[in-house]
Symmetry: C4
Subunit: 205 residues, 4 copies
């Protein structure tokens, strides 16, 4: 029984894409709730100072949004080639989304404990798990013929290399936290900015 | 008047699917808000300990995500065959979504009161009500010719049996709580993991 | 300039439908955050009692979900016939969504102040404003030829009558609050249940 | 490697539209959580007074919803013409969504500090950044041939002029805050109402 159920479940590509966009959309927007309006009763300058104290929270928020954006783009790029889904691919993507949905936590955790190795470590772990699931997603889709064969073959190496490359850089960045955590996180952010905003120079590529 | 309204309302399959993905997406992501960043002012080891204390909350979160994923897959599998909707089917799905949306509550309730029969009971009730609505959904769709007839006939028994089978197992698991609640919930989680990750062995099926 | 902009803006029916489902999905799921897990340290019976005290909150939640469902169905029914949109229709729907998004507030307000005329009044006002916008939506779409002409003509009276009919009943229900607020709200809920679950008897219609 | 990845990533127009609707939907609905049910134990009139005290919060909420609606319409209007996407266009839209998602913050900030220049300034900055990204979005799409050429050419000036026009008016409005902040914000709201509800007179255009 389960046998035939497994065969029939999960062909609808539209739904895994739709729930992905819903989870990303909520995860990207939720963290703004953490930025509370400051209470000020004094002069203009007091309000400005109170706002400036919120800037680290905004930076953490932007970082979370940026990270989510990078992985959203990564998943979207894979689904350009993936033409059908099955039960397993759906579960792979749900687990990917699980790690996406804890991103607000790990980013806020990093924001509060940026001077601890462990804060950097947890954030790195989240990046790693999302990258891992994206890799598994592509590997599974290719191996099981769920992609449009012609272009996918060509793109496959690029997609895999990109994940491995970025994850290697994240790992090196995270290791640097044993030297200096601010340095570590700066390196990770620079890597992310490079992936996100590579487009500023990508025009002639 | 109502008569003709009922006839015209609810044919748009896309919308019930879209709102399902929105409700699932929000329900899956909301519970992460319950995991508060711990406050630590001491050494690295203090932060690690504070984080370790959060692990049960993470387990509850993962369980909630897993459960939502199982039922999302179940609904998606049915909508592979359901080709049109009507007012009644829409309402059946809305009630299903109602029970999905309280899943964050019942999972957190279980997390806090895992050593109480009643905690297990509430969680089981939620699983039962979601399973019941999925059964009603399929039964109604089949009976009212809303499915693509050819394959649906074949799949119908599998879908129904799967719901009854899993619900029977959940019920037995819940009953075990009168013996030992940790045993009961472990059994339920194992059943869920089996349904979710059956795919690890499903390749040759 | 604005002139031509107004002409070009808003033809994409898919987007107003998509944002509707997103807002409904979030509004339907948010209120569950209001139901806090009780803190109990005693016997099984204490936990059960603590849970029973939450039942009114659950009823309010179910009522909110039910109400949202009714109006979601109403909007979906109209969009079965509406085949294109324009800037104005988009704004009409955004304002409709504005009133949908405050439904969690007005329902919770009713839950806390069910014995006050004003609590019933605010809830009624919300129902009225949603109904009003649905009426305006249909009226505008018909008048500006945005519907599929053949069936829409036929359905139009049914859609309008249904809104007027239900709003008249809500209004009478709300007026009863000057006699007894519990009676008033019971009547309103019965009217809503009738609209929602009319389907139990609708088979032979 | 990155080279070919950049070429292949981001063609799926549907996804950037879907995540836009998700982020807008959540952002539009989240702020209602800020309106807490008042606690009243007295007479009817006390409840009414407590509710009236919430009216500024409702106004802020409506303003936030209105603003989000204006920019949602603006983005939707552009995507009427944009027929394909690329990696860069996706990132432009993600950054646009980042500024959309902080709108609940900046509107609430304005609500609390409407009598401070800085409160008006932050709100204006948010409007400016959203307008800027919309401008960049259109400019990039046109320049890189991502639009349906025929109509887009014609519409292009209208879309750009509209953004510049409205942003100029917002800027003048914001500058007025050095004279009187209430005047400044009133002007901005009137400009927004004009853009939103231009439709009341747009029938014969």
């Amino acid at each position: 029984m389960k046998n035939s159920y497994n065969k029939i479940a999960g062909h609808d590509l539209g739904r895994i894409v739709a729930i992905s966009d819903a989870v990303f959309g909520v995860a990207m927007t939720l963290l703004v709730l953490e930025i509370k309006i400051p209470e000020v009763n004094g002069k203009e300058i007091d309000l400005i100072n109170a706002f400036l104290k919120l800037l680290p929270k905004f930076l953490v928020y932007f970082l979370s949004f940026l990270t989510a954006g990078i992985f959203w783009m990564g998943q979207a790029a894979q689904f350009e080639f993936i033409k059908k889904s099955d039960r397993n691919l759906n579960w792979i993507n749900l687990i990917f989304l699980l790690f996406v949905s804890v991103l607000p936590f790990s980013t806020a955790f990093l924001g509060d404990y940026i001077h601890y190795h462990f804060g950097v470590g947890i954030y790195w772990l989240n990046l790693f798990l999302m990258g891992l699931m994206l890799y598994v997603n592509w590997h599974y889709a290719i191996k099981n013929g769920l992609v449009s064969t012609a272009d996918a073959e060509e793109a496959s190496d690029g997609i895999k290399t990109r994940i491995i490359e970025s994850q290697t850089l994240y790992f090196i960045g995270a290791l640097l936290s044993f030297f200096n955590t601010y340095l570590a996180i700066s390196i990770i952010i620079i890597i992310q900015l490079n992936y996100a905003f590579a487009f500023f120079k990508s025009k002639n590529r």
